[in-house]
Symmetry: C2
DNA sequence: CGAGCTCTTGAAGGGGTTCAAAATTAGTGG
DNA sequence: CCACTAATTTTGAACCCCTTCAAGAGCTCG
């Protein structure tokens, strides 16, 4: 058995046995892992502005000094947790889930390496959703109060944070359009092409990749039932647009997929 | 006849006659109207942080020095327009519309007095949606580059902008949940209660108000057809939850509406 | 290997759409 | 101020896409 929960001990002992999932205030941002260095990080070109000087980078290194490992299925943070940091995904992937008071869940996004998590928490000082690892993952912890200080000193960092947040707003509006106007077939096609594009931007294959989420999670993200997701995969397979074998997906005809 | 288009001349002459709606780069933020003053504005408590000093306010007054009137149906900005400013709605209301390449439209939001427009443009340096006035409206023009300078000097302003953007992200995730998981009936109920809450926060009646948008625009916002919106209004009327007479709405039973 | 998820596929049912037409409201010009 | 036209809203009826329910196959991980 793996040494679970040594690094991801944001679950208080005994929590799993509690009937009602209380959300205790946690000191979950204590360093859990080795040192992180933006100045030598391979993800920097993806998650930081390009025009930083060596001096700017060393400022960053003084605040982003720790990472945290999150095991598959564990939460990085939960809705209601007090907001202190944002997180850059160094390896792995996550889903973010909002829950309605009646228990209904909705997946608001899937995030992969090089993307950030937690900006929703700035508004109310507490997180608005659960962030759950889809596989064993590692994040860089970026204390937001200290980031704000750097942003007052380094203009390009300031602008970068504004752009990151604005980018999230733009992506959300695209997703609202998808949920509001597209057929199930178009939603799944758009989803696959979007993942493909993001993998490609990180140097992975745009054509073939491994889905880390279940059909149910995809459905919950796209506003449909898991059976419908499965039917659309099968339909694309019959139409020679996509070859899907369980969680391994190969996009055969991207043009065709974009035109469904 | 009113002196139309003297203040809202962001449409280049002859544009209406063009077959293809070209989007020219516009100098649309030249002052169009009298002077604005945050220091004496009645909306300040809604759109600015509360803890600003007199000195901070005078800094704001130096950059927010002009307003712009937008007539009903005219655009404040269009998707593709280069991004220079954000806008605080001083009076009136707007809808924001994103368009898919196939011509499909989706209304991403309705904004009323005290709310802001344009933050989606920071990301790519150009606006991502059209902002269209639902009635004759007035906005304060806030040049973003100058706002960034103030945010490096005034900590509370910096944090305020981060919170505004984060708030938009949170609202978007609520809307995605609505579009992804709720029935038509629940969507319309949620929409009415949301409007009610926002009117109340501005000192208007929470129970009775006037809708500035059509059933079609509501449907386009909520991911359903205008006929369905109309049927839900009728259903609420029969259930004595809402009294709707055209665009005048009176919420009779807010509790009941919240529990549909 | 085997228990429990996950995925696929079929068949029936329902919520929302589509099409159509009438009623009401808003806007315009005489 | 009223008549007239266009736009918006309401309501009905038929249809369809997606959901629901069910069962079996496949995969994964301890």
């Amino acid at each position: 058995m793996l040494a679970a929960n040594t690094q991801t001990s944001n679950h208080v002992p005994g929590r799993a046995a509690a009937v009602i999932p209380i959300r205790p205030v946690q000191d979950s941002d204590a360093p859990r892992h080795g040192t992180a260095r933006c100045s030598s990080c391979s993800m920097r070109s993806i998650c930081m502005p390009p025009e930083l000087s060596a001096e700017d980078l060393s400022k960053l290194d003084t605040i982003i000094c720790s990472t945290r490992a999150v095991k598959r299925g564990d939460t990085l943070y939960r809705a209601g947790d007090s907001f202190k940091s944002i997180y850059a995904i160094r390896a792995g992937s996550f889903k973010t889930v909002v829950m309605h008071r009646d228990g209904r869940e909705h997946v608001t996004g899937f995030e992969i390496a090089g993307e950030t998590l937690g900006l929703d928490g700035v508004c109310a000082g507490q997180h608005n959703c659960d962030a759950i690892a889809l596989e064993d993952s590692v994040v860089c912890i970026i204390p937001f109060a200290q980031l704000e200080i750097i942003c007052r000193e380094v203009k390009s960092m300031q602008h970068h944070i504004y752009r990151m947040m604005s980018g999230e707003i733009v992506r959300d509006s695209v997703q609202m359009m998808l949920l509001g106007t597209m057929s199930a077939e178009q939603r799944v096609a758009t989803f696959l092409l979007n993942l493909s594009r993001r993998f490609k931007a990180r140097g992975f294959s745009a054509a073939e990749f491994h889905l880390r989420m279940t059909r149910e999670e995809i459905g919950c993200y796209l506003g449909m039932k898991l059976e419908t997701v499965s039917r659309m995969f099968s339909k694309f397979q019959r139409g020679h647009l996509v070859h899907a074998n369980g969680k391994t997906v190969r996009i055969v005809d991207p043009e065709g997929l974009a035109n469904v």
